[in-house]
Symmetry: C2
């Protein structure tokens, strides 16, 4: 058994079932080890941003890490942006990055770079294995690090010669560090504030947005009248008909500050107090009301379900509650396709337990409120702000949950970043419907240009935000990568196209033509 | 005048004429400053790998830096792989990376990361500006650092508030550090070895492969019989009819070692002694013959033209020489399209002073030898081994030299990495003909799999190297991004398609279908 085989065996023993890969020469032994392992699935992405974004989507839906297989420093860097998103989502990911043989590094061959340095800003844990025998133990540690509640980015660098040299064998799985528990005294204080009768909010993020945790939040709201709010960009929100409804903090800082301004106390569980996404001249950075009592009961790495349950119990909240989202679907639209028409069709047609991947940006603002009452579903968002997340995350989610329909709501500019993901959807015959919101623009930046005080832009500035020259033909691109595509320009034709795509099994793309 | 305007003015004064950009909110003031500057050209890329690869191609052809405009840590990371290639090419590039306002960093907003840490492994110089007033001076320094002979990657991080705050004005250009000169005593020693009559080679790289430097190499060869060899992956080789012909070191280490084994002395100018691209079990790392005399006269950062001229003069070499490549074009091919058919058509049809961007990988092995005698041209190669270089570099080369035809020889797997470059070709109406070598495979990896001792692969391993399921339809993808595309399956139809593409002005794509 060589080091590569010992490592792949170890990952499997520790629960890793899928390896998203774009390998190169330094990973060939690892490819061969995957090949020999009867139950480790290898999934090829045609760019590393697809590989790491898929691992993010997988991790969020499986609550267990997939592995990635990446090629040296540049290969890692190509995947870094989606690792940034995964890190902000606290998703579990194990990166295996091949490096030159350790004795080859001194030659400074063309692909040599500071791989550890490249990995560190986008990982929670980085280690370079020191020998063939060390690879397996390091792999077990990487999985345990990735499973640090609720998830983390663990990057293991595997020099090529350790992969081909003899090794003792697989290592036993390591137990991940237990999730810290919220401070009991702080829970008591928060409970006292919630009982005071003043306007209060439960501000939730991370694992506090899963169905079981939200049930506890519903008890608390029932007992105290506290409103339930979630962070603007959540890793995975379980919502829809019958679940505990959650209000979402607005994106723009001044709207968010206004939204929160009425509260006398805010209790944070699974989230930290919100800050503006960017700084703007003369606008606030911290968004919580200055005069409110702030209770940071549990951050993203503290057990959210236990914290919410303890808080509900401290309040003597009833075991059952009435905070359930009723069924609601907006009426169908007609005429020229607008974002609301997309939302109405989505709300009407989404099957139960759909997984919605939301990277629709400005064009998608209508999606979230209009779908609140549709059949129950998971809603995954762009946690780190680095675009190119949606299509790859759809790949990973579909592989984690092959029994469920994945729907990617995808802005055009962001879709182009990792457009290669369509090919993997076709190859793996994944049950994904992608909706491209084609407004032929980085529309958000037209708003941001004014907000940073750079208004009254001329043609050169506008051209740097514009995708209309030439028009991108998403149907041709999709077909070219093996995913059947269709374009819709009216609300009626969009609804028909979406219905057909959702009823099919396998990848489909619907271009929603939103141009004026 | 704000900091952004002072910076853009400074870049212009220092000779920067083009900014390849994919901006976000933190760069909006810089976009507005480009907008207001009458002569700074802004070119949008739909992914940062396009932006940085374009800057590489531009820098190689202009011998002056373009600027890039990148968005925070993830935006930089998306561009890092092509910066790795540019760094290995010693191409001049100035990266301007927007960061959060300095007072906003403490909030750890979603897009926050260790930006300096991310930039360092892929830059020769990194600086974060400390104030609005500092931006202009830092910009002048960045250009000077980028122009350190023959070129370097300078990354300037611009916090958003310094861009919008008032600044004193533009800074004066700074003089780049002068190129070091080769050691005169070492030149004398090398000359003595070359005069000894034993088998000798001039091993050239970097700036030693430009026409003027090769003229000096021709004199040396005329006087001594030394063979002229170039590194396997050169930034820019000027070759073709009438120029001094150069032999290229083979890619595979054992072939390279064999190629060099007959020489008693090797003189390196613009290059360092070659090493294997990767380590393989039981194969050599250093490729120069162990018993040869090695003269490292000038590395890539030492003035190559002066070193060659001094060496020629030390040899009392004649002012003129006979080492000129005669015109040669292979006969046209017919029948099923093979790589040789592509090469024959290219050699026949390339116009004078074409710029060839070579990322054709295995399918392109025939290109270089078969085109040696075609009309004079520049040949740009993948210096850093990080795939996804070719199409973006074509964009940059075409913008640097709008008077010349650019021809991208592009492997399919590598093309997919930065396929978004096609859109910029269409938008900017660049005079680029792209040839896609479609063998539906990461073919090089099928070779490497065996070479690292992981032979006899099963279906899972092969599937991770395979691009045939589904087939990528390059014509549809190209059309979808606005570049007219056509597919050729025979040598005759390929020649016709290439002829039509080269005779047109503007972007075209020809898919060379090389599948068996």
């Amino acid at each position: 058994m060589n080091g590569a085989q010992a490592l792949i065996d170890t990952l499997y023993k520790a629960g890793v079932r899928v390896c998203f890969a774009n390998p190169g020469t330094s990973e060939m032994q690892l490819v061969a080890a995957i090949d020999k392992h009867p139950e480790m699935r290898g999934v090829l992405g045609l760019f590393e941003g697809v590989v790491t974004g898929a691992a993010d989507g997988y991790g969020r839906m499986a609550d267990a890490p997939a592995a990635t297989l990446l090629h040296l420093g540049p290969g890692f860097a190509n995947g870094a942006a989606n690792l940034h998103n995964a890190r902000r989502a606290h998703a579990p990911v194990v990166n295996i990055v091949g490096d030159h043989a350790d004795y080859h590094r001194e030659y400074d061959a063309p692909l040599t770079s500071d791989l550890e340095g490249a990995a560190r800003p986008f990982s929670n844990w980085v280690k370079t294995s020191a020998s063939a025998d060390a690879l397996a133990g390091d792999g077990a540690q990487a999985v345990a690090e990735a499973m640090r509640y609720p998830g983390a980015i663990a990057t293991l660098i595997a020099p090529a010669n350790f992969a081909w040299e003899d090794a003792k064998g697989a290592a036993e799985p390591q137990r991940p560090q237990a999730a810290p528990q919220a401070d009991a005294a702080l829970i008591e204080k928060a409970a006292a504030a919630l009982k005071s009768g003043k306007a209060a909010a439960l501000f939730l993020g991370g694992m506090a947005l899963r169905e079981d945790a939200l049930e506890e939040a519903g008890r608390i709201s029932e007992a105290t009248g506290a409103r339930i709010i979630c962070e603007t960009f959540a890793a995975r929100l379980q919502r829809g008909e019958g679940r505990v409804p959650v209000e979402r903090l607005p994106y723009f800082g001044e709207m968010a500050a206004e939204f929160l301004s009425g509260f006398s106390s805010v209790v944070f569980i699974g989230a930290k107090p919100p800050v503006a996404f960017f700084a703007y001249p003369g606008k606030p950075g911290r968004l919580s009301p200055e005069d409110a009592e702030i209770f940071e009961v549990a951050d993203a790495r503290t057990d959210a379900l236990s914290a919410l349950r303890a808080l509900a119990d401290a309040l003597n909240a009833p075991k059952t509650h009435s905070k359930r989202q009723p069924h609601f679907v907006p009426p169908p639209m007609s005429g020229k396709l607008e974002p609301a028409g997309v939302a109405a069709a989505l709300a009407e047609l989404s099957p139960e337990d759909a997984i919605i991947i939301d990277e629709a940006a400005t064009a998608g603002l209508a999606m979230f409120p209009m779908t609140a009452g549709m059949k129950r579903h998971d809603w995954l968002m762009l946690t780190g702000g680095s675009i190119g997340f949606g299509l790859p995350a759809g790949v990973g989610a579909a592989i984690a949950r092959p029994d469920r329909k994945v729907i990617c709501l995808q802005a055009d500019g962001s879709a182009m970043y990792t457009v290669q993901a369509l090919w993997t959807m076709a190859r793996e015959k994944l049950d994904i419907t992608t909706v491209i919101f084609n407004n032929a623009s980085y529309a958000i930046l037209n708003i941001e240009l004014a907000r940073v005080g750079a208004g009254n832009p001329g043609p050169k500035a506008l051209s740097l935000l514009d995708l209309s020259n030439p028009m991108i033909d998403w149907v041709e691109i999709s077909n070219g990568m093996g995913v059947p595509g269709v374009r819709a320009t009216t609300a009626e034709s969009f609804r028909d196209a979406l219905k057909e795509a959702l009823e099919a099994r396998g990848p489909r793309l619907v271009e929603a033509d939103l141009r004026p």
